[in-house]
C-alpha cells in the first residue's frame, strides 16, 4: 500500500480555496516574498537545482524555459498558465485550480519576476465554467492583500493575472495554438521556431507553463531546490499528480513521487472491479500508450516510460478490464483525433481518417495482414510530417497496441478470412 506524497496538493481540502489568508497561514506567498529579495538569476538557479521539468506533457526543464525568456530583450513579456487540460483522462489541473488556486498564482508571479514579465494570462478550458468564479474570487482576494497587482508585497514588482476562456478545442492546449486563441484567432498551431519563450503572445517573449508545474514552484523556493531534487528519481524529480480512471475500483487524482511503480499504484487503488480481469492500461492520455497487463512493472517517470516505449504524459492512468475490446478503444481514440485535428496540415487531416478506416476494416473482418504494415507506415509518416504534437502522436495508441496486443489484430484478421 502506497501513501501519497503531497507537494502539489499540499493544501487540498485544508483551506478555503478562495481565501488568501488561509493560503498565507500555510506559508503561502512567503516564497514569493523570498523570491523578491533574490536576484532573478538566483531564482532561476534554484529552479535548476530542483530539476523541475514541465508537467504538461513534454517534460522540458523549467529553468531552461525561463532563462530563454529572461535573456530575451523586450519591453513587454508575458507568463501564461496553460489550464486547457484537454487530454482525456486528465483531471489534475481542475483539482489543483479549484482546491488551491493561489499556489498557481504564486507560481506565475515567481515566474514573472524571474523573467521580467508584468502580465499573466490563465487560459481555462471552457469545460470548466464552474472553476472560473473560484479563480475570479481568489484573484480579487489576493489583490486586496497586495499579493498580486501593483507593487506586490510592498516591492517595486507589479504583476497581475487575467482569466481567459477556451472555446472547446483540444488543440488549443498546444502552446502556440493557445497563444493564437488568446489573440482572438482560430487555435491553429504555429510553426516553431520561433518558440514562445522568445516570440510568443503578440510576438513578445512568453513563458507557457502547465498548472501543475507552476504549483510546484512556490514549494521549491520555500524549501530549496536541493530538497526537491531528493524526491523522485535522478533526472525526474519531485512528484507527479496522477489521474486514475477507467475500470479501476478507486478512481481519482493522487500524488506520488516520480518513479513510483505502476503496479503499486494499481494495487493500492483496488485494481479492477468486481471480479473482472485486467486487460491493460492506457498511459499518458490519448496520444499515449496502450500496454498489456503483463507490462505493469513500470517506473512512472518521464525517462523510464520513454525507455519502455511508453509515456508519462499528463500522468493519466486509464485501466481497461476484460469487458472492453482493444480494437474498439483504438477506434474511439482515432475518432477523437479526427474530431480535434485543426486541419492545418494534410498528413494529420487525412492520415487520422485513413488509420480509422483501416482499423474499421480489420475489426469488421475484412482486414489483411498487410494492413498492419500499412498502419505502421502511415503512423511513421505522420510522426515526421505533421506540424504539431497532435498529428505527430495521434497513432501512438494504435502502434503500441499493435506491439502489445498483436494477437487481437491477428485474430480479427484470421476470423475474417475464415468467414
Amino acid at each position: 500500500m502506497l501513501s501519497e506524497t503531497r507537494i502539489v496538493l499540499r493544501n487540498l481540502g485544508r483551506i478555503d480555496p478562495v481565501s488568501v489568508q488561509d493560503y498565507q497561514k500555510q506559508g503561502g506567498y512567503g516564497p514569493l516574498r523570498k523570491a523578491l529579495s533574490m536576484k532573478t538569476e538566483e531564482v532561476i538557479a534554484e529552479m535548476k537545482r530542483s530539476g523541475l521539468r514541465g508537467r504538461g506533457g513534454a517534460g522540458f526543464p523549467v529553468w531552461k524555459k525561463w532563462s530563454f525568456t529572461a535573456s530575451a530583450q523586450s519591453g513587454q513579456k508575458y507568463v501564461i498558465c496553460n489550464a486547457d487540460e484537454g487530454e482525456p483522462g486528465t483531471n489534475k489541473d481542475r483539482v489543483i485550480l479549484s482546491g488551491d488556486p493561489n499556489s498557481v498564482f504564486e507560481g506565475m508571479a515567481i515566474a514573472a519576476y524571474a523573467v521580467g514579465a508584468d502580465r499573466g494570462f490563465l487560459y481555462l478550458r471552457r469545460e470548466y465554467p464552474y472553476v472560473a468564479p473560484i479563480l475570479d474570487q481568489a484573484l480579487e482576494n489576493a489583490r486586496a492583500e497586495g499579493c498580486l497587482g501593483k507593487n506586490i508585497l510592498g516591492s517595486s514588482f507589479s504583476f497581475d493575472i487575467e482569466v481567459i476562456s477556451g472555446g472547446g478545442a483540444y488543440v488549443c492546449g498546444e502552446e502556440t495554438a493557445l497563444i493564437e486563441s488568446i489573440e482572438g484567432r482560430r487555435g491553429e498551431p504555429r510553426f516553431k521556431p520561433p518558440y514562445p519563450g522568445v516570440s510568443g503572445l503578440y510576438g513578445r517573449p512568453t513563458v507557457v507553463n502547465n498548472v501543475e508545474t507552476l504549483a510546484n514552484v512556490p514549494v521549491i523556493l520555500q524549501r530549496g531546490g536541493e530538497w526537491f531534487s531528493g524526491i523522485g528519481v535522478p533526472n525526474c524529480t519531485g512528484t507527479k499528480v496522477f489521474t486514475l480512471c477507467g475500470n479501476i475500483t478507486q478512481k481519482g487524482v493522487f500524488e506520488y513521487p516520480m518513479g513510483t511503480n505502476l503496479r503499486d499504484i494499481y494495487e493500492t487503488h483496488g485494481g479492477v472491479k468486481d471480479n473482472f480481469d485486467l486487460r491493460g492500461f492506457m498511459l499518458g492520455g490519448q496520444s499515449g500508450n496502450l500496454i498489456n497487463a503483463g507490462q505493469m512493472d513500470l517506473s512512472m517517470d518521464i525517462d523510464s516510460c520513454q525507455q519502455a516505449e511508453s509515456v508519462l504524459g499528463t500522468g493519466t492512468i486509464m485501466v481497461i478490464d476484460d469487458r472492453n475490446d482493444i480494437l474498439d478503444i483504438v477506434q474511439n481514440i482515432m475518432s477523437f483525433f479526427i474530431e480535434e485535428s485543426c486541419g492545418k496540415c494534410t498528413p494529420c487531416r487525412e492520415g487520422n481518417i485513413r488509420i480509422l478506416e483501416i482499423l474499421r476494416r480489420i475489426s469488421g473482418g475484412e482486414g489483411r495482414m498487410e494492413d498492419l504494415t500499412l498502419l505502421e507506415d502511415l503512423a511513421g509518416m505522420m510522426n515526421v510530417a505533421c506540424l504539431c504534437g497532435l498529428g505527430q502522436n495521434s497513432s501512438v495508441a494504435v502502434i503500441t497496441s499493435l506491439h502489445n496486443f498483436r494477437e487481437v489484430y491477428v485474430k480479427a484478421i484470421e476470423r475474417g478470412r475464415r468467414a
Binding site: 465554467p129 478545442a169 489521474t243 478503444i329 485543426c342
Partner: protein, 171 residues
Amino acid sequence: MHSIAGEDYFITPAAEKRITELASRYQNEPEQLMNILLDIQKETANSFPRSVAALVSRVTGIPEAKLYGFVSFYSMFSTKPRGRYVVRMCHSAPCHVCGAQGVMEAISKTLGIKPGETTRDGRFTLEYCQCLGVCENAPAIMVNETVYRNLTPGRAATLMEDYQRGDMKEC
C-alpha cells in the same frame, strides 16, 4: 421566446440591444474576444448564426468573415440554432470504457432525438463532446454549464425527464 424555425435566427429588438451592449465591451483587445462572444451566444439561443455575426461585426469593426472563422473553429459555438438546453455527452475513452454508450442511448431515447439534432419544440439539442475533465466520475454529461457525473442509463433518463418537466432551474 426565440424563433428558431428557419436556418437563421431572427434578432428581436431586445436581443439586439443586449448583443450591442455586450459587443461594445470589445475595445480592440483581442484577448477579450472569446469571453465576449461566449456571453453573446448565451443571449441567442445557444448559437451564433450569420445575423448575429453581422451585428457583432458592425459594432466591433471585426470583419464578419473573421468572426465566422473564429466561431466555426471552436466546439462551444454553433452556427446553427440550438435548443435552450444543450446536452453534451462525453464520448472520450475513459467515459467510453465506463458505459457512456448506454447512457447516450437512454438520453437519446428519452429526448427522442439523435446526436446532432434539436427537439421540435426547440428546447433540447443533443451533442457528443470530448472529455469534460471529470473522468474520475465517468460517465459524465454537461447540460449548458452544469456537469452530471456517475451516470447510469436509468439515472440519465430520469435527469432528462426532470428537465423535460421543467423541474431544473435554468442554467
